[in-house]
Structure formats: C-alpha cells, structure tokens
Symmetry: C2
Subunit: 195 residues, 2 copies
Amino acid sequence: MNIGPDKYGIKEGINEVIVTTRSLNGKPNAAPIGIISDKGIFKVKVFNGSHTSINILDTGLLAANIVGDPVLFVRSVLDDLDIEMFTMIKTDTGITFPVLAQSSAWVLFRADYTSGSTAMTAHLNMIAGNIINQEPRSVNRGFNAVIEALVLASRYRVFNEESLLDRIESYGSLVNKCGGTCEKEAYGMIIEYLQ
Amino acid sequence: MNIGPDKYGIKEGINEVIVTTRSLNGKPNAAPIGIISDKGIFKVKVFNGSHTSINILDTGLLAANIVGDPVLFVRSVLDDLDIEMFTMIKTDTGITFPVLAQSSAWVLFRADYTSGSTAMTAHLNMIAGNIINQEPRSVNRGFNAVIEALVLASRYRVFNEESLLDRIESYGSLVNKCGGTCEKEAYGMIIEYLQ
C-alpha cells in the first residue's frame, strides 16, 4: 500500500508547517510555510532570496514538519533555531537532512521548482515520512490565536504597517483565556519581539 | 503508570471538544463545550436547562470527544446528530454511554457538579479513555476560522446581534483560501443556517 503525505498530517488545503532545509555545506534552516495540498498535488511557494529558497535551489529537497508546539512555531519565525533542535536523517541518496526533533511527524519531499519573478513554486513529491508523536490534541482557540498573531507579525516585519500591531494585540485576550502555558509564552515572545 | 486526560488530547487551557451525555432513558446528546484543564484540575461550566446540564444532573457523567472534523463540530451545534454517529460504550458501573464514532479520542469523566444561578460547574474525574485515530494533522487556518465562526454563530443564536453576522462572514475568505473540502462544507453549513 502506498502511504501518502496525508497519513503524516499533510491534509487537503493549506498546511501550516515548519519547513526544514539544508545548505550545500550542511547548515540547517527552519521556516514556517504553508504547503498546499490540492487533489493529490502538493506544492509550495517560496520567496526568492530566502534561506529556504536558496537551499531548495541547491539541494532540491525540503522537509515538512508537523508541529503542535506554539513556541516552536514562534521561534522558527523570530529566531534561528538552535542546532540541537534538529535531527539529521539519512536519505536514500546518502545526503543527511534536517528535520525538527520536536515535530509530531515529518515528510521529506523532492522539490521540483519553477522560478518566478518574486517566488519559486516547488512541486513536491514525497520521498519518506515518519510519525514521531501520535498523541491526539483537542482544539485550542488560544493556540489558533497565536498562529494568527504570528502570521501578522511576519507581515509586520516586511511591511511595517502600524495597523497590524493593533490586530496582533487583539489576539491577546483569547490567548490568555484559552491558551495553556506554551501558548502564553509563545504570544509573549511575539509581543516582546515587536517592542 | 497513571495515564491522565492529557494523553487523550485534553491539554492545559480550554479544550474545545464535543461533550456527549445521555438522558436517564438513554437518549444521547452532543454539544461543543470548552473543558478547562488547569494545574491538573479538569472542569467545565454548563448552562442550566441545556440537555448537557440536565443529563449531568441525571447521570453524573460526561464524555469529552476530541474531534478534528469541522463538519462534525458544526453539526453538533446546528443539528441533532444522527443516532448512528454515536458509539455506545459500556462503563464499569454497567451503564452504557455515548461517545462519537468519529472522534480521534474520548475521555469519560465523572462529573461532580456545583449548581449556580445560570450554570453548573462540573469538576471532572477521568474514569476511562480511548484513542481511536492517531493520525497527525497539520495546522489549518481554514479549520481554525470555522471554529471561530461557529463560536460566533452560537452566540448569534442566543443574542441575535447583527454585528456578529459581519464577523462570521469575515472568516469566509480564510476558509476558502486555506481550508479543504470539509472546512468549506462546514463553513457553508454555518452560512446557510444563518440565512
């Protein structure tokens, strides 16, 4: 039986995952990216000049890490992740490739890209996958609010629009009401970063 | 080893789950409710007069169903669920109790309640739990938007405030952009219900 990316958590629609890649000299990189799954086709748009884009040009590979930890999501946007947060896996081609040690699951894809004026589109074909943590998790609106605030914070970093700050702050009450310790910590990191 | 509700997906913070209960004569009921987990204490607030509240008074039991299907969430608010959507489990006390056949996991709790003027507070002690589907699932902002729209739709049903309709409609673009077929169907059911 052929097991596809959906068994590892990449479902129909846009999947907010942390994409890991490596440079030619082996430096790992992590960035939150939306992977599109539409009628069995998997693809991703990556802005030119980003580490992820350069690494895909160099290696033709990316890994999608399914993550449920809000702090890890925020760190992957605001910080470089520490080297010990990556696990190096050995691929069939002999290249070692970084995935996130704390992911619930990961899928390694071959990325066949088409270049565009501002971004490349990479068509993804699954090479391998692994499920690390199968614990179920209920819906937490505080977690979801952190993700929305993080999307806005990434946008603020590029466009610097003041109106985004108000929208980011508007998520605070939901995080405080519904989130656990991790959600509050993650949201606090976003607010601290913006100050 | 003592396995607690967190292993079944009930994490710190407010857990948006579908609570199933049964009446004295065995009729199952399902309603979306937030279960609070705070420092190892599990509790829930249930409005007086609701089916859930009456059933807890009668049986002292409730089950928290961890659900990832947005259509199931919406149906549990807007419709009564069909009888075949429930699985009857046998408890230690001999009583059969309904859980959702499509849940990822469920936890059966003894509910020790304190009555209040508008709502009861039930303190929850886990009796049993089961994991049914361990498939990981990436973050989908379209799914999260359906949950937010559903919270507002429940509020609209009670308070009938027109301003809520605009907020519900504002989630449509995120559902269409990021959601899969299930998210679009679920959101469509909310919009249809409101018309």
